[in-house]
Amino acid sequence: MAKIKNKIRTIKINADLCNGCRTCEVVCSAGHATPRFSSNNPARARIHVITHRLENIFLPVFAGENTPAQCLGREKYVIDGKEYSECSFCKASCSARGRFIEPDSGLPLRCDMCEGEEQPLCVEWCLNKVLTLEEREEEVEEEVKLGEMEFGLQSLVEKHGLEKLVDTIARMSQKR
């Protein structure tokens, strides 16, 4: 496969500065609404601020890959003497819990780094400068990147199998 230059966007998270306001969740969900900014709903955001206020945990986490079946290996964190339940700090969208799952469609959500925007919305609107953007260029093997729709479909394929999905879509298009 051909080598191409890729812009890698990294968001550096200085969690020490986070005040737990969840503005990042609000703007992320508003920016991804259709039409853009027509609604907001933090449950649709691709960032989630994990907060345990009294334990001093204020941790913005970005929606990562989808785990179609729940992981076999899991982590349990102990921080400051408090033990957190399994999966507490995981960034995957996963059927084990509701996080990073579209509330109505049940499809997984993934941070797309706000592709197309000058800078990620969460970075732009976090006035506390918790989130900063670092961009660098890297040479990588060309691969086909999954767009928003493919990412959702992919998870359906993994769940139901490609054949069933194709059948369903065919049936739906006949009905129209």
């Binding site: 737990g20 969840r22 508003a30 609404a33 900014f37 206020r53 001093n56 609107w125 006035l127």
Partner: protein, 696 residues
């Protein structure tokens, strides 16, 4: 489609367990916006004026403001409205935190509770699923700790919980409702919640809130964000204003250590004495060390870039969150100079769920009653001998209503003194309308504060003022600099008033600002609060802040883009004035009259009885109220409240009485006078011929 609003209220009959999801009339948003505005309408329509706080008919409404749940910065206020056990009037304490927006995301604007549950319960709202759940196992749990317990029990880490502690369960008049770092404190709504047997309300919501014009809305929000950022990086000079008011947001008491202004300006003990030379370098050093150590992280409310609260990890004290003046209030009352004491006592105080303004005052009064032998040896048995220990002991007694001391003090300063048969004002001297006020005792009567204290529907003026500097600037050059960049003012007259305002002489308090200017200033600031309270915006970003984010010229931009309404500034004024006058009529129906509108008698040393009387009369007339503090038919009709005028007339409250019409008195005496009568009985001044006086 409904914009900004969810469009539904939850109606819960606690006696039967019946839960209904009721669609609201979109017209109400046009008439009263939301939040406090629509709450007042519901109370007016549904709660008979005879209803008292602990009657089943008293409604307990938890509401989210109109803009809560939209991306509006700092629109996160949960407003609780109910008849106060303390004042007998409608109270509406508010809290920031995360609950109100979550309620919107669950699909509701308000939770309206009526009657009483037969046993202790909590309510769990998860989108369309609403349950009343047993809370027997949560009885006595702390108002903070129970929030986590409920989240764990529901296995819903993202649920937001508002809860009461022991103080609410035991119907203490100073009981608050706690939510994350925030408290809905004033007026005793926590006691009503306890009386209704509701320990907590947990909410989880995953629905959308819509904006009528999203791109326009975000454009306006960007302008606002730039202003906030600008203000955060450029605090106002602290030469003429205290440091905690130089930024935007609630007063930055958690961040700033220099407490010269509070410690020397406010009154200590049972609001009795000022310590004008209190602050020194040594204290500043000590307090900085304690405060820096105690503060683990600065935190905010939902969707707000500011950081007014803090996670407190003080020595061995269990962790909690604090904000604002609570940092000092217990120290002041106990007359303890050690800041550590305050950090320690705040923890049980928040867990019991006590208002941190009223409660310290009540405890301090308890100590006075003991000194004067009104509380006996028997009452005091078991109390430690040191003052810190005494405060912890009293707090605990009060939360449990234990013994005569606990049970009496739990009714607040006014309630305790009446039950003890003590003369009004002797010990409970710092009240307005039976409610404890900030511990402020000053020299010269200030006409703006006079009007705010006397008339405000919040009863406590805590954070009522804000857009106008508390004191004039000494030097003209500073004043000129200040007015240069002040787009928040309604018009340029306000600038002139500020420029003219002097610390001494003819253009100083008490006669300047004049009654005419005072009326405009107070009405404007109060209106801003009412706008914030309808929209659910934190007053720290609007009405209680110098040069804030929100102001009369930009509210409509957010309201219109969010809701699709097409309000101009006059339209907004009219909507909010409609709610304010409805609110006043509601209080009038509950008995409020001019005779109740009295700042504490010892609030200022220099008083001007005749002038104060004229000042208040002028203000009533300015507002379109008669001389007994009741809106006139003309005023009500202007605001489409003809039905209220009919109602007040039918009840004999509103009368067509020429004695109640304002007659300007421009030759009013400016003599300083005592507001104490010769025989030592305190009273406030009313001319002999005044009708209210005759009526008693």
């Amino acid at each position: 489609m409904r914009y900004a609003e969810a469009g539904y209220n939850l109606e819960i009959d606690l006696a039967t367990g019946n839960i209904e999801k009721v669609e609201t009339d979109p017209k109400l948003m046009e008439l009263h916006l939301g939040g406090l505005g629509t709450d007042v309408k519901i109370h007016y329509d549904r709660v008979p004026p005879e209803t008292q706080a602990f009657d089943p008919e008293n409604l307990l409404i938890f509401s989210a403001g109109l803009l809560c749940g939209t991306p509006t910065f700092s629109a996160n206020r949960m407003l609780v409205s109910t008849i106060s056990p303390q004042t007998g009037l409608l109270c509406y304490p508010m809290a920031g935190g995360f609950w109100a927006s979550e309620l919107k995301y669950a699909g509701y604007d308000k939770v309206i509770m009526r009657n009483k549950s037969p046993k202790l319960v909590y309510i769990y709202i998860n989108n369309d699923k609403v349950e009343i759940r047993d809370a027997a196992h949560l009885k006595g749990k702390g108002a903070l700790e129970v929030q986590d317990l409920i989240r764990e029990e529901l296995n819903e880490p993202d649920a937001q919980v508002s809860a009461i502690g022991l103080a609410g369960e035991n119907r203490c008049f100073g009981a608050s409702i706690e939510q994350s770092k925030s408290s809905a404190s004033r007026g005793g709504a926590g006691a009503v919640m306890g009386d209704k047997n509701v320990k907590a309300i947990a909410v989880r919501g995953t629905k959308d809130i819509y904006l009528a014009d999203g791109p326009e809305f975000m454009k306006q929000l960007k302008i606002l964000a730039d202003w906030i950022d600008h203000r955060n990086h450029n605090p106002l000079p602290n030469k003429n204003i205290m440091t905690i008011h130089t930024g935007v947001g609630s007063p930055q008491a958690m961040k700033i250590v220099d407490e010269k202004w509070h410690t020397q300006g406010f009154a200590w003990g049972n609001s009795r004495r000022r310590r004008k030379t209190f602050w020194n370098d040594e204290l500043e050093k000590q307090w900085t060390e304690i405060q820096t150590k105690a503060l683990r992280r600065f935190i905010s409310c939902f969707n707000c870039p500011q950081q007014c609260g803090a996670l407190i990890t003080h020595e061995d004290t269990p962790r909690y969150m604090a904000k604002c003046f609570s940092k000092l209030s217990y120290m002041f009352a106990a007359e303890i100079d050690e800041q550590g004491f305050n950090w320690e006592i705040l923890e049980p105080a928040f867990q019991y769920g006590f208002d941190s303004f009223s409660t310290p005052q009540v405890l301090a009064m308890g100590v006075e009653l003991r000194k004067d032998g009104i509380f006996t040896d028997e009452d005091w048995e078991g109390c430690p001998t040191d003052i810190a220990g005494t405060f912890f002991w009293l707090l605990d007694k009060m939360a449990r209503r234990e013994g005569r001391v606990g049970d009496l003090l739990a009714d607040g300063c006014y309630g305790a003194c009446r039950r003890l048969g003590l003369p009004e004002g002797k010990y409970d001297h710092n009240n307005i309308k039976k409610h404890e006020q900030m511990c402020v005792k000053l020299g010269m009567m200030d006409p703006l504060y006079y009007l705010m204290y006397a008339t405000n529907e919040k009863v406590s003026i805590t954070q009522m003022e804000g857009n106008w500097p508390q004191e004039p600037f000494r030097e003209m050059a500073d004043r000129e600099e200040f007015v240069k960049d002040w787009p928040h003012l309604p018009d340029d007259r306000f600038k002139k008033w500020f420029l003219d305002w002097e610390p001494r002489g003819e253009f100083a308090n008490p006669f300047y600002p004049t009654k005419e200017i005072s009326a405009e200033l107070v009405d404007w600031m109060e209106m801003l609060h009412n706008i914030d309270d309808a929209l659910g915006i934190c007053c720290g970003m609007g009405s209680f802040c110098l040069k804030p984010a929100y102001h009369i010229h930009n509210y409509t931009k957010f309201i219109n883009a969010a809701t699709g309404l097409n309000l101009d500034e006059d339209g907004l004024r009219k909507a909010v004035n409609r709610s304010r006058n409805l609110h006043r009529a509601l209080q009038n129906r509950r008995g409020l009259r001019r005779k109740d509108e009295v700042p504490p008698k010892d609030h200022w040393k220099h008083r001007f009885p005749e002038y104060e009387y004229e000042l208040l009369s002028y203000y009533y007339n300015f507002k379109g109220w008669n001389m007994d503090a009741i809106p006139t038919r003309k005023r009500l009709e202007e605001l489409d409240l003809g039905y209220v005028a009919d109602d007040l007339e039918r009840r004999g409250i509103l009368k067509d009485d020429p004695d109640l019409v304002y007659v300007p008195n421009d030759n009013v005496s400016r003599e300083e006078g005592s507001i104490y009568l010769q025989d030592g009985q305190s009273d406030f001044y009313i001319p002999d011929d005044h009708v209210s006086r005759k009526e008693g």
